[in-house]
Symmetry: D2
């Protein structure tokens, strides 16, 4: 446990990085919400010092300004339109309430899409209390709307570290109420309960964890024999992985580059470092827009795929002098070094679509002989003594997180997976899940997908009895073998 | 002339429409410049009432605020990086000055890209005086930077109609200075001289006109036998047409939709009305991003092309109930009617990439039973009594003009074409051009293209003597027949 | 006339080249018909020496073997299925017979597709007599089927030069019958009548010519003032050009390479010389299959298009050592020289998709130090002293002519255009056409396209009265300006 | 064992189906080799009755005609050019001989590519004896060339069932020689040894099995506890799966359709049943050629992928009346039923790219009211009473097996994987492999891929020490986790 805590501290300090690709919705996008968001309000009083009540008289919440609820409600309604699966779950829940009796404590980004999830959990019968998993990512209006609707939410944009843990504690430490389910994103909530209220786990039926970091911690706990309830790793469901990586990046690489630089893609020479799912998405999109794309890889299998998909496989050094754009998608560190940056041509754009802010050695650019000039939000010109300018986006942090938006449809898949994981763990018969980390059952993964097909007016074919027998499958799935579910993590993020 | 004037009046009233696809650079994009632009300054004094001098003591200009020159200069420098052809012309002009003695009066959008053009004309030996062709499109900082550098510029953002003509007059009506070349965009400057100072044409060697509207007026003048100097239609050069339409729209349709709606393209059903160059660009981009695209057409040849390119050719009615996005690219009117809008499904996005704001019958939506809700800048939800929402972008005006940016590289092609047209008309031997409207000689069109190839590190092959003889071509071009030049207009915008 | 004859002689000698991309149907494809065709029959008697009658007792024809008619009829029926436009014309002709009274003499390739055309002309009211325009291209069974159906056909595969002219003469020189229309492909028939029966032109209403060569001759005659009837150039109709070049080559480059080499396209490096329509089609197809494609160009405008479409523009020398495939599409000569061939790597494939067999300097490979080894039909290994092998396809002749097939659908467009041109010339009021060379009226070009839309179940939109007025167009077309028709030739084959 | 034998009998009867997608090289392609192959020789003597010796005097082989060795050698040499990985293995084996002492008995298709494999095994130190795994697939000339080079080969095209087992027996039942390794394709050789010479397994170090069928049998043996040596499943290596399915089908669907029907892809409506790797390849290729593609699926995850990739997901019934082509890629049975066939439009093409000949219910078409007309090799017109024709390819068997060719490059990957699997099993230290079925170690899979990269002049990036440490990877791979290798089978064939 001591080790965990040390780990925790370290994680906290690099929180902005930890956010991951996940839950950042359009609401956070600078370009779209500035005019509507009230974040710039001059109210400097800490929410912890305010006395606020919602229209029903409840004060069991802590948000920036309960009066912003109406604007937040509109954002939630817009999000509902693109989250058809959760709305479908609500409809089906009108008879049975699969989460009846569930007491869920949650710790996630607080956005319009999360609000749709929380309100769906409510509609399914659950009681919820919620805190933010990130000190910056709360959309205050949405938090207000949730509070107004009666959800005890403790979260605002710009919390201090002390605020952060205070909010989590307010969710958990309630008189007369004790959670029996955890929905976590990053593992901080889980960590807090482990540390402060270990006895609570006696009543907890399971943990649903969303992030790479949090899943990693759970596996560590499990290995150490310290995981005392079943946990569901929803980060690695097939559907979510494909959407978060291939499909989402295919669109966001274009969006992120356009919003920051207004560049033309046609004819530009681009090198993409890494040909996993993220790299594949970036390459496909840029090729389609008329860019000439080079790829670097360390894994010969991915390298061969890049060849067969029509990309020249090179070492970065071979093309660094000639390319117009450098994009990192490796999950590795120092992929783009100062030496590379020194050799780039004037005007070269450098950005990162990978898993951390380590891929470009940005630190190496903070030397006296280089001048930094911020030309737009998220866009810096780094200027060499000879006048050469490198265009660095988002200071090397994730481009699609910082400079583009994540479509609600992608978040819908994540949120639906979370809801189903909660339902599964809450309703699973004694003994189905032990004190271990599980992937979502294959059939549920398929169910998440099927709930999103109506959006595309897509019509699934059903097996005839004869065909099901021939294939040895149940007509309703799962259509992939059961053991499959333990494995997809390793495969899908790589090929 | 009376007819012209009436025409003029009518045009003026719908000025915002007239802007065309052309010269709107990133500088106008709301999302990118708001934080840097000083347009929101509280200085309400009319520039006409101010006393301003630049650092050299000159007051022969009228801009919003000469003190903004420094910021404007930086924008100009950034633009220079992506306008390699003009910079190349400047270099070549160090010896000979092909515009030595030229006195150019210009009337265009005043943006960073135009500034690069104006300063290039100066470097080529010309004296220039400049006004804006649009009352809203001036970037004040850039105008200031030009004034600071000694160019007499008369222009600011937010001119009144009276201001507009006053500025033009200040460019033309100068003691001791008389223009011998006109560079116009929209025909207003040309019209003003015709009306007020017809004698000036005695010294004028030619007009270079940029816009569809302006070219149309020149052809009318020519037909009526009233055109008294040669005019060059640069709107219809091959290079410009391809860039302004196919290549530019391929990128800006994605950009415009993302910035306004943050939607995901994958799996979306889209109908594109019209399969000319603009429609082809839109269809190709959306298909590449995973949308399912339908096309409507009236011309069987374009229709057959749509089929061969893999798009279902339908009538709008056949798919209107099922599509997620409707995009018009026809140049026609009322392509999307109220009846169509009534039948669209909830959440359908409607936008226009065509040549005017007439394609969608927006007027039909301004009825009492429908509610309009502005959800973002340029995005309206039109709400039917049953709650159905249609997402209307830019109120039916050009999407790529209103909601995305035009890459500098595209503007570079236009600006270079203008510069070469001025050089050609100014230096042409007596008799080469009569009082008629001309297209840029094929060879010059090719020269514009060749000046942009270095950007792509592209290496042109040269004909051997033997090959040139075999093909019956000059080794240096033109590579297309001479009569070709009269025709490309009709072809290129349609197939 | 003397000049013409010299020209004629020269042309004759290189006949195999002259064939052009056009009319070679699948029936000629070696790989598909060998087992069914009876060409290998041992019957060595010249058809001129045979006595044959069809089942109705007529002997006014000369074919290889009238007994093969049944197989030929089946081929014709198969072709009819993919020539919907001609079948539609037949239906519409049940009432009016627009060619009633027409006496057409034709000289084209004799294939199943031509047979559908000839029988359509018959159904429209015309009398027809027919010869082959090429000594090798006749499908004997089809000729037999036509003869059996009562069409006087004079043609067989493997004619001598004397046979060739004898056949043409038999079509023209008939007692009691004189042609009033000519349908020619290559100009040989027209030439023969000019030379032998110049008086016949008094009754001839017009010539329809299909080939580049034939059109060139007609323009020469016209320039020389010797063209004594109107002629219609159907080679350069928009629809035909696009299909013969872009769309057809996009598919046939893949087909031709696969059938000859069974190579895998994915990951291969390819250089395409020339980026006109043919080059564009080749590049698009190979890029889609995962090849890495380089382009060479002499024209800066096409070069810029290649860049924007995502191809590296290089000089051939820059990539010649590294590429796996070299494809010429220039219309030029000696684009690939012996020097290039010397520098290619082992196994490099070299082929030609351009307009002649001059693009690759094949002659330079016929030197003693190089060994030629025929490894398959149309595939030679040229072996250097060091063992290096270059794979030369079709000895540098047109790949898609020699090694792939032309889809019937493409030929349908050509044949329909020919039929409409005949109808137009035959029915045109006195004075509409002078003794000059014309392009098919724009509206007819559109009509050809519209007749092919039902194949794709494509639904054309019709203009409303209001829209037609707004655009200044007739509701039924033409949708492109009239002067457009004189120009498309120059444009479409180049951009 | 009894069960196995019954299974064996059943399999034998449907041998032509069993061949699988794998090893059919271009040499078998009917269209390319007819003129060079000597299969049509009139020599009717059974090879078993002939007395033949090779030039070194050995008669330990049985082939059709040893005199054809020279032609076979040339085919082998051509194949060597596209099998760079095996040639690289030969080079590395000049010092060490990793198969020194190995006695390999093999049973595979006997083609030029297999010959390169066998001769490579020889160069690596192994003694080999070989039989064919299929009675039709032997290329006689290649068998002769191997025999001439001293490899005891027992195989010819057109063996009887008795011949088939006789040949296998001659490989195994040799005096003074006993195999210690098995390379099998289909399991017949393994089965024969189990049945006839079970004691041989005492000396056998392992089995390498190539086919789905053979692997399935091995797993059955393993489950039943009867597998007495380690076995390596090379069918399911990542590299092989991707190449055999996605990349290969992407090309062969076009090739197969063109060679059989000469159809044009542009504008055609196609329905692809199944969106696994094979379906993905077919869809991508046809979309790129301008077809309009619909997809059917039973698995919601694959269905969602189809949507995101831009294909309309439908039930077959919804589009069956309108499509031009139906392609099955499901692995299921009766996907296309008689009812579907009854509703197809005239001229519709029906073919199968899936895993068996059961996908199209061809049997249902063998009814008296329907007429079958064979129009080309592998192409039947099935004619309905009303004249409607359905074009059925390869009688519903695998299109790419029957009507196109498999590039040598694909076979190179398979053959290299086989060679490495043999080396691994032969050299593995005692105890590394038990009596179970294994997948190729991840690192070896990566090694196969890396051996093929030079073909594409592809340059792999190497991790720095620091990066390897950061990622927790060995610098030389494997780059995917070790447990990964047990799992890829289930994943890769499905997503």
């Amino acid at each position: 446990m001591v080790i965990q805590f040390a780990d925790q501290k370290r994680e906290f300090n690099k929180r902005p990085t930890k956010i991951g690709r996940r839950s950042l919705s359009r609401s956070i996008s600078q370009s779209s919400t500035d005019s509507y968001s009230s974040d710039s309000s001059d109210d400097e009083t800490s929410p912890r010092d305010k006395q606020q009540k919602n229209s029903k008289g409840s004060s069991d919440f802590c948000v920036k300004n309960i009066k912003q609820a109406e604007f937040g409600r509109r954002e939630i309604e817009i999000a509902e339109q693109e989250m058809p699966a959760l709305m479908a779950l609500r409809k089906r829940a009108q008879g049975e309430k699969p989460l009846s009796g569930a007491k869920i404590v949650g710790c996630t980004h607080i956005t319009a899409q999360t609000a749709v999830l929380i309100e769906t959990l409510g509609a399914l019968g659950a009681q919820c209390r919620w805190a933010a998993c990130n000190i910056y990512s709360t959309l205050n209006e949405v938090a207000a709307a949730l509070a107004e609707s009666g959800f005890p939410v403790f979260s605002w944009k710009g919390e201090s570290e002390d605020d952060f843990w205070w909010c989590i504690d307010r969710c958990v430490n309630v008189e007369g109420w004790q959670p029996n389910m955890i929905l976590d994103d990053g593992g901080d909530l889980t960590h807090w309960i482990y540390k402060k209220y270990p006895n609570m786990f006696k009543k907890i039926k399971g943990i649903v964890e969303e992030s790479v970091t949090g899943v990693h911690r759970l596996y560590q706990l499990s290995k150490a024999g310290k995981l005392c309830v079943p946990a569901m790793n929803v980060n690695d469901s097939v559907t979510k992985q494909k959407f978060d990586n291939l499909y989402c990046c295919r669109e966001s690489i274009l969006d992120g580059l356009k919003r920051t630089t207004d560049m033309m893609f046609g004819g530009k020479q681009v090198v993409v470092c890494g040909y996993g799912e993220v790299g594949k998405g970036c390459c496909a999109a840029l090729k389609a827009m008329g860019s000439i794309v080079y790829v670097t890889e360390i894994d010969p299998i991915c390298a061969l795929q890049a060849c067969m998909d029509g990309f020249r496989l090179v070492k970065l050094n071979e093309v660094i002098r000639q390319v117009d754009i450098v994009i990192t998608c490796t999950g590795n560190k120092n992929v783009v070094t100062r030496e590379h940056l020194d050799r780039m041509k004037n005007g070269c754009i450098v950005c990162n679509m990978g898993h951390s802010n380590t891929e470009i050695d940005v630190a190496s650019l903070r030397t006296p002989e280089l001048t930094w000039e911020r030309v737009r939000s998220q866009v810096d010109h780094v200027i060499w003594p000879d006048g050469k300018r490198i265009v660095l986006l988002a200071e090397g942090r994730l481009l699609n997180l910082s400079c583009s938006t994540v479509p609600t449809f992608v978040l819908s898949i994540t949120a639906t997976t979370q809801a189903l994981a909660l339902i599964e763990l809450y309703n699973a018969p004694e003994g189905r899940y032990k004190q271990d980390v599980y992937l979502l059952p294959k059939k549920m993964d398929e169910y998440v997908a099927s709930l999103h097909l109506p959006t595309f007016d897509a019509h699934l074919t059903e097996l005839s009895d004869e065909q099901a027998k021939y294939l040895g499958l149940n007509k309703n799935g799962p259509f992939k073998p059961n053991y499959y579910r333990y494995l997809n993590f390793f495969i899908l993020i790589t090929f």
